[in-house]
């Protein structure tokens, strides 16, 4: 069952590109990574899903309901953590959280204290006195206190120290085990790798690839490093080879194709050493952005 269904969602800000023909589905119970550099359109996609902005064309459904028409109803079950947190400066943390909770038709008090406890958040302070990281904590508590069925996290870890980051990840995983679906946007690949089942890669407003995180690492590309004297670069100029770099007595490249063919190609040279590796997600990622 799909929790999020996005169909050719396009958003232009006047003439400026936001996102173009973005389509992907997020299944129930998965942690779906959404990666791309700043300005690629991650936040635009998420804000469109939340009806903060409206699509130029295309449509999307959450819980099988229309994002605009059924917006208020959908949002009952969504927890949203924006990349930058802004609240009413003069309010106390507790009042802000209670205000937020008052929009959900259930008692969130218990969960609010639990979460504040986990995130070590002081509820008595004013929003304006909080550091960036502490505001983020308020955001996490606010996003989770109504026990949502779908979590939308937009670059959630910025501003959190590694210790809090781990606590937060544990929290997300715990929620996920309870059945919460997670859309996790990030430009930090390690954290996506750590948490997500599937990822969508977005580049300049368009989805480049949607794949299982394992498949993304296992399939397709191998990173090959050959060491030896007088290596012939020319013979590696075949379509399957990408990112060919020659460095003194070392050749490195990414290979996507029949492994026998490349073994044959390499075999006819003078080789001292050979390494065939699974590329890291970082390397795959960089590749998609070339």
């Amino acid at each position: 069952m799909n929790i999020i269904e996005i169909n050719k969602l396009t958003k232009y800000y006047g003439k400026a590109r936001g996102i173009i023909d973005v389509s992907f589905n997020v299944k129930k119970g998965e942690i779906f990574g959404f990666i791309g550099p700043n300005g690629a359109g991650k936040s635009t996609t998420i804000r469109t899903l939340l009806s903060l902005i409206y699509p130029t064309s295309g449509s999307a459904k959450i819980f099988g309901k229309h994002i605009i028409k059924d917006g208020p109803e959908i949002r009952k079950e969504i927890g949203y953590l924006p990349s930058e947190i802004f609240y009413y400066d003069k309010m106390k943390v507790k009042d802000l959280l209670k205000y937020s909770a008052s929009f959900y038709k259930k008692d969130c008090t218990k969960r609010m204290y639990e979460l504040a406890d986990i995130m070590e958040l002081d509820l008595t302070r004013r929003i304006e006195d909080l550091s960036y990281g502490n505001k983020k904590k308020v955001g996490i508590v606010q996003g989770l206190l109504h026990e949502p069925k779908l979590l939308m996290l937009d670059e959630p870890t910025s501003g959190l120290d590694p210790f809090m980051q781990k606590k937060f990840f544990d929290l997300v995983v715990e929620e996920n085990k309870k059945g919460t679906t997670v859309l996790f946007s990030s430009h930090i690949l390690a954290e996506v790798q750590q948490l997500c089942n599937r990822v969508a890669i977005i580049k300049e407003g368009s989805i480049v690839k949607i794949e299982d995180i394992k498949k993304l690492q296992e399939d397709h590309y191998k990173k090959i490093i050959i060491k030896g004297k007088d290596l012939d670069v020319k013979k590696f100029n075949i379509p399957e080879v990408k990112e060919l770099v020659k460095n003194n007595n070392e050749l490195s490249f990414f290979y996507n194709g029949d492994i026998n063919k490349i073994i044959q190609t390499i075999g006819s040279g003078i080789i001292k050493d050979i390494l065939i590796l699974d590329p890291s997600l970082e390397e795959i990622f960089i590749h998609y952005y070339k």
Binding site: Y13, R47, L50, S51, L52, I53, Y54, G71, P72, E73, I74, R75, K76, I78, Y80, P82, E84, F86, Y87, Y88, D89, K90, Y99, S100, S102, F103, Y104, Q142
Partner: protein, 264 residues
């Protein structure tokens, strides 16, 4: 309900400051009245001044020396002050969520934008009513020692009702501007410009009969204090125009704001 409470609290400080300013302003200007009260010599001086100028400031010799007359002269300043309050309130109560970037919090809560701006509208109207109450109270307190009669209170009632109309007109204009102007930072200054522009127009109309037909587009001409004082009623046509204007602005707000791309 939660939005109304939140907005009332958020605007409490500003409301208190406005109330104190209005109260002091009224007290000061009423204390000046003791000079004019029952002073026929002053009335004689006024008679020598150019008619147009007096008209522009809604003054004539008959009214400066009576309680009702004096309050009627002050009325135009009530219109401007409470109008500015209302137009700024209307504009900021809508645009502040984008200005303070809290829109991303408020409008991702499980409620519609219509419901939130309804709450904001109610809170703004309550704010306007409180400020109007303070104005009314200040006038009564300041005037009490002159032992005003029934005619004064009849006029005061009409006067306050007129101010309320002015407030609602400018409140709704402010809200509409904040809803349709893409650059939310400008909505406040544009709203105030509309208010000052219409005021200047109303002064211009007093000077020149040629542009008298424009009286329908400036709210400051709708409830002229002298008319209220002399006729002891409001002009029906302006009540209708005002109501339509308020309605159009509010419908516009409720139509455009929910369809707006929020700037975050």
């Amino acid at each position: 309900m939660n939005v109304i409470k939140r907005e009332l609290r958020a605007h409490l400080k500003a409301l208190i400051i406005w109330s104190i300013c209005i109260f002091i302003m009224i007290m000061l200007s009423m204390s000046e009245f003791s000079v004019y009260y029952n002073n026929p010599e002053l009335a004689a001086i006024l008679d020598t001044m150019p008619k147009a100028m007096l008209k522009a400031f809604s003054i004539n010799s008959a009214n400066l020396t009576t309680v009702s007359g004096y309050v009627s002269i002050l009325s135009i300043y009530f219109y401007i002050m409470l109008g500015i309050h209302a137009v700024l309130l209307g504009s900021s109560i809508i645009s502040k969520e984008e200005r303070d970037k809290t829109a991303e919090f408020l409008y991702t809560l499980p409620t519609s934008r219509q419901k939130i701006i309804t709450g904001k509208l109610v809170a703004a109207v309550i704010n306007c009513l409180i400020l109007l109450g303070v104005t009314c109270l200040a006038v009564i307190v300041a005037i009490l020692k002159y032992e005003p009669g029934e005619t004064f209170f009849a006029f005061l009632k009409l006067n306050m009702l007129s101010i309320f109309f002015i407030q609602m007109i400018f409140l709704s204009i402010g809200m509409l501007m904040a809803s349709i102007i893409k650059r939310y930072k400008k909505s406040g200054s544009i709203s105030v410009s509309i208010l000052l522009g219409t005021y200047i127009l109303s002064v211009g109309i007093s000077f020149s009969d040629k542009i008298e037909f424009m009286k329908y587009i400036t709210p400051f001409k709708y409830f002229e204090p002298l008319y209220l004082l002399n006729e002891n009623k409001m002009e029906g046509v302006y009540i209708i125009i005002s109501s339509i204007l308020i309605l159009i602005c509010l419908i516009g707000t409720f139509y455009f704001y929910p369809r707006r791309d929020l700037r975050i």
